[in-house]
Assembly symmetry: C2
Homo-oligomer: 213 residues x 2
Amino acid sequence: MEASTVSGSQDGQIASPRRAPSQQRSRERVERMLAAASALIAEQGSDAMRMGEVAERAGVSIGSLYQFFPDKRAIIWALAERYTVQSQACISAALADVSDAEGLRRAFSELVDIYYGLFLAEPVMRDIWSGTQADKALRELELADSRANAEFLTAVLKRLRPAADSAALETTAFLIWQMGEATVRLAISVGRQEGDDLVAAYKRMALRELVGE
Amino acid sequence: MEASTVSGSQDGQIASPRRAPSQQRSRERVERMLAAASALIAEQGSDAMRMGEVAERAGVSIGSLYQFFPDKRAIIWALAERYTVQSQACISAALADVSDAEGLRRAFSELVDIYYGLFLAEPVMRDIWSGTQADKALRELELADSRANAEFLTAVLKRLRPAADSAALETTAFLIWQMGEATVRLAISVGRQEGDDLVAAYKRMALRELVGE
DNA sequence: TGAAAATATGAGGAATCCTCATATTTGCAA
DNA sequence: TTGCAAATATGAGGATTCCTCATATTTTCA
């Protein structure tokens, strides 16, 4: 076993950028690559996105593309990470200063709406998060991300119900969070009308569990 | 638009067998192909399954494989369908003669256990249903299947709560069912210990919704 | 028995991901 | 400024894999 020199892709691990762009020139080019990939995913989905097409649209050679992204998954991962950071901040903010049941009810309800809205509005996020080509590494990122988000919810629950069993609260929060993600994905895939109903039903169920009857 | 002659694969549609094996000989060979595919999926997952390897292990030529399965997805779909039929029968049986709240509680609880057990025991089912390469067509099958299963639950609910709004019951049943599938997939991916806890928590939540407090 | 239908075969076409030897540009120390 | 090392850029082509198709063999059945 040898220490990886830069950050080579291993097993099913996430492949980070092969080399960090240090000069202004390359940083701009990497941005163009990401923008091109994003546009192509929005148009055709990540399955159909071709690396050659990404390079062409970004106005760089295929070799340059692979200079900064070790493989196709890496460029998708890079886009995913941006959404992750963005939504995590949003979630943290929404739940940060919840101090009573009514506050939780409001914050949670709003949070679900925002999350659902994000999926409705962002085809790239939709594709990456519920896309067909999500590989094992991306799923693991997704799971880790979900755990992190659920922890905000756990923190709120522990604050509101200090007497309750801690482990049970963690399980509940994680499950509710995961179900929320599953519901939003489902809602997207069945169309607007039914989707809205499903999200509403989820909210009701989740709130019943979170703040009681 | 022209009527498809046999059952060619279109768009993102499921690709059915290209030609039905009519002779004894070919029926046996198709079985061997499916068995080979199943074994390879169990060993490596459907992503890593190579069509050439399936053919080789089944003892047939690559051409023969494609004579009966129009593409790689079709052979996965064929395997998926078997599990679908199997589990649907099981679900239908479990919920068929539920007539009161206590019966629903018992039947549902048992159903979840069976479903979870099936995922734990069947690597191929696991791979196909929560695998990384599930394509759009397979997801649609999955969704249709889930709807069908949820209908059994809907039927029970309508029987137990004839006064309730019909559309609302349908939404609830579908959502609970989908959440159950999501929970089982999640439970599988986080490992046995935590997985069991999550399934138990799901059961509690779902039953609260199904049979009240 | 013989012809038509069904089945079998595997070389190779086509698409795509990614590598690598080589060329160019940039940063910076002398 | 100059020159050299590091960073960056390039694209032809290696490698892999899915799938087709012309041809050969086997089976069915009138």
